[in-house]
């Protein structure tokens, strides 16, 4: 039947009709508007509400932003300029305060002839970070290092760094760029040295102090190697005890003696001169670097089978998490001296760093514990089946995966900690947000200026924190191993 039917058909079209454009109402901008802004009554109301909010904001702030003044010596001059340019009664932003106090916002009361030192430390930080944070892609590493080199050297030139140090920084950057191309793992050596060098560059004084501190680690490693032949237990004890004894009893005297023999001093800067973003970044970065390992240890302890270890870890974490950071900062500034042997008095920034680290580590421990709990049980069993001991299993199988799972949480802890560095204002340090704004306002020139310093500091914090969260997203994508 069907064959007959086909042959008897009079006419069969053999070409396709050309596709027609969709109806006018269902394409392009109109369709987008209809589906995204006006798809229903609720949606339309929301759109109108949104437009109203945007209009209110723009209406309020547009004039203020467009009437900005960048060049003026004082607030009254600013206001005068605004009135001259845009007529009587107009208001505008006076960014001149940022322009004039830029260095103070960045460095606090750091001696101005030494501004190049923190700048150099900050630039070289990227060399130290490159093998850790940008280990995957050679291209990204290249971009990061070259940009850091150009910016740092330029800034150092502008700030009047001595030629010796300019050459030094240039040499380090050149070596780093070469190493990053050939053998990135070489850069790790610099990453390990950087904490000691960074402290020296920031605070100044004798290089022998950081060297002797570093010596403690070397001694610990040596003790581990030597005693390891006798018994692993002794090696473990030696590895902890030898550096401790060295730091407590010998390192200080050794540093002084060495300094007397060969002087390696640069001008020292006291902690109370630190301020602004220099202070925030110093505290934030040290806290980040120190709290991650401490957090891992706490998380492992909390998941341990050993009752005592577990209980103590739980008590520590819950105590720290139950108390506001301000209380801990006050402990740092008021109580720490009570807990230490009489006569000890150490640096307020160091005390704050300790407290911030402890605080962040407790949060970090909970985040990592979540990661550990999220790992399938099979991973632990597989490690056991391979005959790995506890530490090997953790190092090779468990922790890499657990840390990968907890990246978002870890980074948000970092962001929270970096934001919390502004709280040091309450223990008398010059944070960029409150203390610096107050310091600026204390001068008669800028009395009565409120919004510009806040907006400026807020924008800088936003850029740094937003950058961190975007980096964590990049890291998550990069480490993604499952193919969905």
């Amino acid at each position: 039947m069907s064959e007959i039917h086909a042959q008897t058909a009079q006419y069969v079209r053999d070409t396709m009709l050309p596709p027609k454009p969709p109806p006018e109402n269902d394409s392009g901008v109109v369709k987008w508007l209809r589906s995204n802004l006006f798809s229903g009554p609720v949606n339309t109301i929301l759109t109108i509400l949104g437009i109203l909010i945007v209009w209110l904001l723009v209406n309020h702030f547009w004039g203020w932003f467009t009437h900005s003044v960048w060049n003026a010596g004082s607030l009254s001059e600013c206001r005068q300029l605004i009135v001259e340019r845009w007529g009587e009664g107009s208001t505008g932003a006076c960014w001149a305060v940022i322009r004039e106090r830029w260095m103070q916002f960045t460095f606090g009361f750091y001696p101005s002839e030494l501004y190049w030192r923190p700048t150099m430390a900050f630039g070289l930080l990227f060399v130290a970070l490159a093998p850790v944070l940008f280990s995957e892609s050679r291209k990204i590493r290249r971009i990061v290092l070259v940009t850091a080199a150009v910016l740092t050297l330029g800034a150092m030139l502008l700030l009047g760094a001595p030629a010796v140090w300019l050459i030094f920084a240039a040499a380090v950057f050149a070596a780093a760029i070469v190493a990053a191309e050939q053998r990135p793992s070489l850069l790790l050596i610099f990453s390990l040295l950087f904490p000691f060098l960074g402290v020296w560059w920031l605070w100044g004084g004798s290089l022998w102090g950081p060297i002797m501190a570093l010596m403690g680690l070397v001694l610990g490693w040596a003790a581990f190697m030597l005693l390891g032949r006798l018994s692993p237990m002794l090696a473990g004890i030696g590895m902890l005890l030898v550096p401790l004894l060295w730091w407590v009893y010998l390192a200080g005297a050794a540093a002084q003696d060495a300094e007397r023999l060969i002087s390696l001093s640069i001008p020292a800067v006291a902690s109370d001169r630190f301020g602004g973003f220099l202070l925030s970044i110093t505290i934030g970065l040290s806290g980040i670097a120190l709290s991650l390992p401490l957090g891992i240890v706490l998380a492992l302890a909390r998941r341990s089978d050993m009752f005592l270890v577990k209980t103590m870890s739980v008590m520590f974490i819950e105590f720290i998490r139950g108390v506001p950071l301000i209380a801990l900062l006050f402990v740092a500034s008021l109580l720490l001296n009570y807990f230490l042997p009489p006569g000890t008095n150490f640096d307020i920034i160091l005390r704050v760093i300790i407290m911030v680290t402890v605080f962040a580590a407790a949060y970090m421990a909970e985040v990592i514990r979540g990661g550990l709990a999220a790992l399938p049980r099979g991973q632990y069993e597989a490690a056991d089946a391979l005959g790995l001991d506890y530490w090997k299993a953790q190092r090779l199988i468990i922790l890499p995966q657990a840390l990968k799972i907890s990246i978002p949480g870890i980074v948000s802890t970092f962001i929270g900690m970096f934001k919390d560095t502004t709280l040091v204002t309450f223990v008398g340090l010059y944070d960029p947000l409150k203390s610096m704004s107050d310091a600026v306002r204390a001068s008669t020139d800028w009395k009565g200026i409120y919004w510009e310093p806040y907006i400026f500091v807020g924008v800088i914090f936003f850029i740094i924190c937003f950058g961190m969260s975007r980096y964590s997203m990049y890291l998550e994508r990069r480490l993604q191993r499952d193919h969905r």
Binding site: G322, F330, F339
Partner: protein, 418 residues
């Protein structure tokens, strides 16, 4: 059974403490315990020696001394002649007030923003994203200072409301006046005041408030009973009686009767002389702190809510739509109950954060626990150790109470797995 595999009893050697798995963890624990105890002993002995050197002692008797400082707007009667202990209690109450106010407002705003970020309205979703990112990536201290500055610098002084043609006007039907010193809100007045119950320590609760609480709780219990009866009827007959009007009556009618009986009415603030009187003048420190904490925490809660809703697989809502359930009921009956179990645990920690962040009140001079016990009391008595230890203890107890309460709630909403 007993004769299967009993290994020959090895003689105990000292090295077994390290190499034998049976003893190793015990050895390790003992070592850790000794180290921690030694560290603790070191701290305590240092403290004792330091206190001796300074000629101080460790006593809490300063709490019963006269405080000698004023607290603006204490929630319970307080004067400068009261003790430091009472000041500390006022501080705790202020912390609790700001925490409760902040948690409620932040939850409401956070849920709205979180849902709005997922809305298919492009413009609104983008706006909410901007809000969330702006608040999450900038320190809370900045928002507190900015909001406080807005109140202090931009709002008009109280006397701007004066005159025939005032420079400023009150909002919300002439009930709320925002000034640069305080926010004047209406209070409630009673024509038929039943007096108050004295709880001791000069703390009183109005009998009217007690009556309202009793009536509300009673109404809620009756409502539960009605629902139970309706369920029982439905189970027996298959017909569910309409109960909403009964519930409405038992929940609302008694309160309305009480309002009528006590003659409850609103007293709006009025400008008399230099200040507003009649209503309640809430200091801007409290309002600014509350607003800033709310806006900041709501941004985090919005992300939690959004993540919770996104965590529910699309199939759930599709299944609900396939059954012909309306979008609103899908949200209420299918998505939210499942999302809650993802949302509640991080929500608990946001509440805790809000409570701890309320200690930033020292930036605006609101006297909560950090401002009283950890601030003025500490400075006046010079008892750093006692004050800070006590303060941390109180914060710790508050955290534990909040987290255990919320964990109870979590246990109720979490997925019942069989």
């Amino acid at each position: 059974m007993a004769d299967t595999a009993i290994p020959a009893k090895e003689p105990f050697r000292l090295s077994m403490l390290i190499y034998d798995r049976r003893y190793r963890s015990l050895t390790f624990q003992v070592i850790v315990f000794i180290l921690v105890m030694a560290f603790g002993w070191w701290l305590v002995s240092n403290t004792v020696r330091n206190l001796e050197v300074l000629g101080k002692d460790f006593k809490f008797d300063f709490l019963s001394q006269r405080a000698g400082y004023d607290i603006p707007q204490p929630p319970i009667p307080y004067t400068a002649d009261d003790t430091h202990l009472r000041a500390a209690v006022v501080g705790v109450l202020n912390t609790l007030i700001i925490t409760v106010l902040g948690c409620v407002a932040a939850t409401v705003l956070g849920v709205i923003v979180g849902v709005a970020r997922l809305s298919n309205n492009w413009l609104f979703a983008r706006l909410m994203t901007v809000y969330v990112e702006a608040f999450r990536n900038v320190p809370l201290l900045l928002w507190i200072l900015v909001v406080f500055s807005v109140f202090r610098e931009i709002l008009p002084p109280p006397n701007a409301f004066r005159g025939e043609d005032p420079a400023a006007s009150m909002i919300l039907f002439d009930n709320v006046a925002l000034t640069n010193r305080y926010t004047a809100i209406p209070t409630l007045g009673m024509t038929n005041d039943p007096g108050s119950l004295d709880l001791g320590w000069r703390v009183t609760i109005s009998w009217a408030a007690i009556a309202f609480i009793v009536v509300l709780i009673g109404g809620w219990l009756v409502h539960k009973a009605i629902v139970k009866w309706a369920q029982a009827t439905q189970d027996q007959t298959g017909q569910r009686p309409t109960t909403w009007w009964m519930s409405l009556i038992v929940m609302v009618l008694p309160s309305l009767l009480l309002i009528w009986y006590f003659g409850l009415h609103m007293i709006p603030p009025e400008l008399k002389g230099f200040n507003f009187t009649g209503g309640l003048n809430i200091s801007n420190a409290l309002v600014a702190l509350w607003l800033a904490l709310t806006l900041y925490t709501a941004a985090f809660i919005a992300e939690i809510v959004r993540a919770g809703i996104l965590a529910i697989s699309k199939g759930q809502s599709e299944a609900a739509f396939a059954l012909g359930i309306s979008p609103r009921r899908t949200m209420n009956l299918v998505i939210l109950p499942q999302a809650l179990r993802v949302i509640v645990p991080p929500l608990i920690s946001q509440y805790l954060n809000l409570m701890k962040n309320s200690s930033l009140a020292i930036a605006v001079g609101f006297m909560e626990l950090k401002g009283t016990l950890g601030g003025t009391t500490l400075n006046q008595t010079g008892r750093e150790l006692e004050s800070i230890l006590l303060m941390m203890g109180i914060y710790l107890i508050l955290s534990l109470i909040i987290s255990s309460g919320m964990n109870l709630f979590n246990a109720r909403v979490k997925l019942k797995e069989r």
